[in-house]
């Protein structure tokens, strides 16, 4: 569940609790509060970052109101369900019960293309998108809206201001790199074009002493080193995969799918497009997989308390390898309903944020079926290990030209081997075969996907 649950009784504040972001999550660590006591919060606004062992996840307020107090400070691990803050609902004068959300939020209207920057003030998704488009670092913008909220005008003004207070402008990526490398950005020369990654690396090579112009220390400090985070993710994967192989009676089947039509269609679509809007074969394969999962609902859901429960949507888990050698599998929500271009944008956004360690709560929640694609590494096929409590997982190999027989003639076609691992408690070979057959058929008409 993306949001924390609320419990409001006769009191005028609602409890904000450590949410469960997956069936296997027992506890979480508050990494950072993005709002402070007294700040207004809006329903759906990201207010904290939680480390779940699998990934850092942004969690959102379930209600409009004011953050009353913070109960759990950054760096503290608490069990799921523990009260971590109190929120005074906007209508606190006449307290209405704040019901726990019965369903997750609706899909976001726009796909973001960059990790949301750390920000001290309230921002809306629109403002963040504008800031991204205008290359404005929100941590440098003074908010003039209610409660210090950054408005779109503030962003526009910052975008056209030559410099901020004599301090050198720094690209968001360079700032992140500076954080990672422990580089003090106040050592940059105050004038010049916006500092880029190369400037940060130069600083990292030359030891320096902090100058008096050093910006104020952040209000939160990192609580885990990158090595510790890697170790924890590895442990989480190890525990889950061990449980999978101990509990789930897997069976496997695979199909080689002709991608001649899909490859031609992609080439036509991509010709003339800038790289920012091009499609990769994976986008088509994922869309076809999501549609197939919808049509074979017995593979799309969870094994809970000895029985299969079909999911009401296709939340397609995407196994994303991180550059530290570990793995996360966030969800593309309602992937079967996304246009291919939208799915591609969401995929890029999701993978980029997974790799920069900042997922949204609803993405970290349990997918209904997961896909792993090792197509960029030249493997023929992969037989996946199912993520419990899911009941199936699809593995995709490399899209490559192979000899094959078409209409009685030997020819060369681009093909991919799709392999399905299925929980035999929940489903049988016939249904799994129908799923692969459906995916194959869908990929012969890529324009309809």
């Amino acid at each position: 569940m993306a949001r924390s649950t609320a419990d409001s009784t006769a009191r005028s504040t609602a409890d904000f609790t450590m949410p469960s972001l997956g069936a296997d999550m027992e506890a979480g660590t508050v990494l950072e509060w993005l709002v402070h006591p007294g700040d207004p919060v809006r329903r759906g606004q990201t207010i904290a970052v939680i480390d779940t062992a699998k990934a850092a996840v942004e969690i959102e307020s379930f209600v409009d109101g004011v953050l009353d107090d913070v109960v759990v400070e950054p760096g503290t691990e608490v069990p799921v369900g523990t009260v971590i803050a109190h929120i005074r609902p906007a209508a606190a004068a006449a307290p209405a019960p704040v019901a726990p959300p019965q369903h997750r939020e609706e899909p976001r209207a726009t796909a973001r293309t960059a990790p949301p920057p750390k920000h001290e003030h309230v921002t809306s998704p629109l403002v963040r998108k504008l800031a991204h488009d205008e290359h404005v670092d929100l941590t440098r913008v003074h908010g003039t809206g209610p409660g210090g909220a950054i408005t779109r005008d503030d962003v526009r003004q910052a975008a056209h201001a030559p410099s901020t207070g004599g301090r050198r402008a720094v690209s968001p990526y360079a700032r992140r790199l500076a954080d990672e490398l422990g580089v003090d950005l106040s050592r940059l020369a105050p004038d010049g074009p916006p500092a880029r990654a190369a400037d940060v690396r130069d600083l990292a090579r030359t030891p320096g002493t902090p100058t008096p112009a050093r910006p104020p220390a952040p209000t939160t400090t990192p609580t885990t080193t990158p090595d510790q985070a890697t170790a924890r993710r590895r442990e989480a994967v190890a525990a889950l995969m061990t449980r999978s192989k101990q509990e789930i009676p897997h069976f496997y089947l695979s199909a080689t799918i002709d991608l001649e039509a899909a490859t031609r269609w992609l080439a036509t679509v991509n010709a003339g497009r800038p790289a920012s809007t091009r499609l990769v074969p994976a986008a088509l394969l994922l869309k076809a997989a999501a549609r197939a999962a919808r049509e074979v609902p017995h593979l799309n859901g969870h094994w809970v308390e000895g029985a299969f429960r079909a999911a009401d949507r296709v939340d397609l888990g995407i196994a994303v390898s991180l550059r530290d050698g570990t793995l996360v599998a966030p969800a593309l929500r309602s992937a079967d309903e996304l246009e291919v271009d939208v799915l591609m944008g969401r995929l890029r956004d999701l993978v980029q944020r997974a790799r920069s360690g900042r997922l949204h709560g609803d993405e970290a929640a349990d997918p209904s079926i997961t896909v792993t694609s090792l197509g960029d590494l030249g493997v023929d096929s992969v037989l996946p290990v199912i993520y419990p409590p899911q009941v199936a997982m699809l593995g995709l190999g490399t899209v490559a030209p192979r000899p094959c027989a078409v209409d009685g003639m030997l020819t060369v076609r681009p093909v991919v081997t799709a392999s399905l691992a299925v929980d035999h408690r929940a489903s049988d070979g016939h249904r799994a075969a129908v799923c692969l057959r459906t995916m194959t058929a869908l990929l012969q008409r890529p324009e309809d996907l």
């Binding site: 790289a275 920012s276 550059r323």
Partner: protein
């Protein structure tokens, strides 16, 4: 575009997408996707960064987008 400018744009884009590698260690004449362990989304991101910074359109596939030398040569030939 001068070759040194082109190479800087290419290497900065690669360094940004794969911050854990030293681009100077990559063989400029061998495919960088394998050397830097980039997937197809990473590759798109590299091309996108180059397109934005150099103001040119990059091919969807082929030798010009596989090696550092190929990318650099393409920029020298077409970049403003």
């Amino acid at each position: 575009m001068r070759e040194d400018e082109a190479r800087l744009i290419v290497t900065e884009a690669l360094a940004e997408v794969a911050p854990d590698i030293d681009v100077a260690d990559l063989d400029p004449d061998e495919p960088f996707q394998e050397q830097a362990d980039l997937d197809s989304l990473d590759l798109l991101r590299v091309l996108e960064l180059i397109e934005v910074r150099a103001g040119v359109s990059m091919p969807t596939d082929g030798p010009a987008v596989r090696t550092i030398s190929g990318l650099t040569t393409h920029l020298v030939g077409t970049g403003r």
